[in-house]
C-alpha cells in the first residue's frame, strides 16, 4: 500500500528537526573541515580559499611527520591497555556483581563513581597521588614503603614509565563505563539458559564459554568500539596528569588542539580528518570481525 503525500509529509516533518541538526552540526562542519584542510588558513580574518589553497600539502606533511605518528603510537599504546586490562577487569567485576553477592548495589555505585568524575579531576588527583616532593604528596611511595614494598618506590610520572602510568590511570578511570555496559549485557542473558545448561551437566567454565561469551558478544563489540573511540580521543586527563611529557604521552587530539591554538587551522583540520578516517576504519573493522564471530557461534542467523 502506497503512503499518501500527506503521510509522507507528516513523517518527514518528524524527522526534519533531527535531520537539520545533523546537517548543520555534523555534515556541514565535516565538509568545511575538509575544505580548510586544503588551505593554510589561520582562522583569523576573512577566509579566501584561492589565496590560502595549498592542495594536499597538509596531508603530505602529516604523512612524514614523526611527531604526528608517534602520537598515534602513544594513543594506540593506551588503547591496547584499555582494550585488554581495562575491559577484562570490567568484565570480571561485572561477572562478580551480576551474581547474588552481598552489597552488590554498593559495588555498582562505587565502580561507576570514577567515570562520573571529570577527567581533569582524575588527572590532578592521580598526579598528587603519585608525584614525589616537592610538588606532590608522594602518597603512593609512602604506601609502598609502609607495606614493605619500598624497593618499588620511584618517580612515577617521569622517564620511561610515564606512558605506562598514563595508560593505567586511563584504564582506572575508564573501566566503570565498560563495567556498566557489560553488566547490562550480562543481565539480559536469560537465567533459563544457565538452568538448562546446569541440568545438562555443564560446569561454570562451560557455561561461561558456551552461553555468557557468545551472548555477550554484541555488547562486547560495543564496549570495544567505544573503548577505541574514547581512548584514541583521550586528552584532558593526560594534559592534567603530565602535559604530554615531552611527546611521550602526547596523543593526536593534543596535537590538533595545539595547532588550532597556534593558528595552524588548516593543518589541524587535516589532522582531524585523518584521525576521524582511521577511527571509522577501525570501528567498521571491529563490527565486521564481531559479526563473523557471532555468525560462527550461531548468535545471529547466517
Amino acid at each position: 500500500m502506497k503512503a499518501s503525500l500527506k503521510d509522507n509529509t507528516a513523517s518527514f516533518s518528524f524527522v526534519l528537526p533531527a535531520l537539520l541538526i545533523f546537517l548543520v552540526f555534523y555534515v556541514y562542519p565535516f565538509f568545511y573541515s575538509f575544505v580548510l584542510s586544503l588551505t593554510d588558513y589561520s582562522l583569523i580574518g576573512k577566509f579566501n580559499f584561492k589565496n590560502s589553497f595549498v592542495g594536499l600539502q597538509n596531508f603530505k606533511d602529516l604523512l612524514v611527520d614523526i611527531d604526528w605518528w608517534k602520537s598515534f603510537y602513544n594513543a594506540g599504546f593506551i588503547t591496547f591497555f584499555a582494550l585488554t586490562f581495562q575491559n577484562i577487569l570490567a568484565l570480571l567485576l561485572a561477572l562478580a556483581v551480576d551474581k547474588v553477592i552481598r552489597m552488590r548495589k554498593f559495588y555498582r555505585v562505587v565502580f561507576f563513581i570514577l567515570p562520573v568524575l571529570s577527567e581533569i579531576i582524575i588527572g590532578l588527583l592521580m598526579k598528587q597521588f603519585m608525584l614525589s616532593e616537592p610538588t606532590g604528596r608522594d602518597v603512593l611511595n609512602n604506601i609502598l614503603n609502609n607495606i614493605g614494598l619500598g624497593f618499588m618506590a620511584q618517580d612515577w610520572i617521569a622517564g620511561h614509565n610515564v606512558r605506562l602510568i598514563t595508560a593505567l590511570v586511563h584504564c582506572w578511570k575508564g573501566f566503570g563505563w565498560a563495567f556498566v555496559i557489560l553488566l547490562a549485557g550480562l543481565q539480559s542473558i536469560p537465567d533459563q539458559l544457565y538452568e538448562a545448561a546446569r541440568i545438562d551437566g555443564a560446569n561454570t567454565w562451560q557455561q561461561f564459554c558456551k552461553i555468557t561469551m557468545p551472548l555477550l558478544m554484541p555488547v562486547s563489540t560495543l564496549v570495544m568500539v567505544l573503548t577505541i573511540l574514547g581512548t584514541m580521543q583521550a586528552f584532558a586527563m593526560i594534559l592534567a596528569l603530565n602535559q604530554g611529557a615531552g611527546g611521550e604521552t602526547t596523543v593526536p587530539v593534543m596535537i590538533i588542539y595545539n595547532h588550532l591554538g597556534t593558528g595552524q587551522a588548516g593543518l589541524a583540520c587535516a589532522e582531524g580528518l585523518i584521525l576521524g578516517a582511521i577511527l571509522v576504519v577501525v570501528s567498521f573493522t571491529m563490527f565486521y570481525v564481531s559479526k563473523i564471530i557471532r555468525e560462527k557461534y550461531g548468535v545471529v542467523p547466517n
Partner: protein, 428 residues
Amino acid sequence: MKLLKFILLLLISGTMVIGCHQSKPKENKIVIWHWITDRRDAFDFLAQKYKEETGIEVEFKLFFPPDIYGQKVIAAARAGTLPDIFGILGEKKTVARFIQAGHILDLTAVMQDDNLSWKSKFYPQTLEVTEFSDDNTYDVKPGIYGVPIDTNVMQFVYNKKLFQAAGLDPKKSPKTVDEFVSYAKTIQEKTGEVGFISGWGEGWLLHALAVEWAINIMGEKKFIDTIEGKVSYMDEEWVKVFSLFERLRNENIFPANIATMTNKEAEDAFAKDKAGFSFNGSWSVNVYSQINPEIDYAFFSLPVVEVANQVKVWGGAGSVFRVNADSPNKDKAIDFLRWISDRQQQDYLVVETNNLAANRYCEKSLPPVLKDLTKSFNSFTHPDNWRLNEDARVIETFNKGLQQIVMGLKTAQDVAKEVQNKKEKVTR
C-alpha cells in the same frame, strides 16, 4: 489546543531570536577582555575610579585558562564580536594576522601626538613589543599596535633562606653555570630540598632559557642566522646549548618529573622554600608573595657559559591591550588606555599587583626585588622584537626535545638532529 500550540511556537521562536540577537555596545561603556585573572581586584578598582572621573563604565572580563582565552579571541574575531579592547595570546605572527584582518587599530598617530607625550611615557623596550618595524617580515604596515600595561622579565631566582641554611652567602648569586650547579648541589646536600625547580612541562619556559643560553654561547647574530636557515641546529654551539640541559639532568639538581611540571606547581614549591633556585618571570613576585609573604628571595642574571660573551634577557613582553579597529567606542578606548598608562594608575598597579610597570616613571614605586630587574632592561631579547620568528613547528620539536633531554630519554645530539630535520622539512 491550537492556541496553546501557537503560544508555544511563539515562545520558542522568540527565545531563538533573542538568543541570536547581538546586543549593541553601550555608548558609555568600554569592554575589555584579558587573561590576567590575578589582577581582577586592581582592574575593578581602576574601572570604578575611571567611572567616577569620566562617567564612562569600564568592564574587565577576565578569562582562564589562557589557552582557552586565546581560542575565544580568535572565535570572536571570526564572529565579529571582539570587545573594544582585548589582549592577544600568541606569537607575533598571530598579532600580524589580526592586524592584516583589520581587527587591531594602528595607534602610531595617537602615540606620537603632542610631541610624543604618550609614547615617551613607556620604556622603549616594552613598547617595542607592540611595534612592527619598517623592515618587518610579516607584511604589516609599520606602526604601534598596542598599549603595554606592564613589563615582563625572565630571570633566575634564588631562595636566600635556603642559601643561608646551606652555608652559602645569600648576597652572592652564582655567575656561571658551574657555580650554579655547585650551589644547587650544596643546597640539596645541606638542606635536603631540591636544587632547582621550574615549570618545564610548559615548553615555552624551557625555550626562553635555551634562547638566553644560546645567545650567550653563539651571540644574537648567529642565533638569528639559525632562524633564517643559514646555521644548522646541528652546529657545535647548538649542541652545546642542548648539552647544558643534559648536564643539568646528569647533575641531578632538579626533580625527575620537572618536564611534566606546570609553572604553578613550581612556583608553589619555590614559594614554600622547597627549592634553592627557579627560572621564572617577573610576574612571580606577586605569585610568591600571595603563597608565602615571608619568602626571602632575589632575582639574578643568567649563569653564563661564556663569561666574555653577551648576555641577553628574555623580556619586554608584558600584557598588551589592543584596540578593536571596528569598535564604535575606539576613541573612548584610546582615552582609557592613555589614562591607565598614566603614572598614577601604573603606580597603583605596581603596588597592588607587584608587576613591573610599562610606564618608565614608576621606578620609585617598585619593591626592591623588582627594582633590581630594571637593570636588565637594556639587554632584552624577545621573539616579538626579532625581525623574524622561528616556525611554530620547529619550536614545538625544539621544546619537546629539551623536555626529553631533561627526562633522560634523548641526548643533545639526538635533539639537535631532530630539530634540524624538522627545520629542513618546514622550509622545503
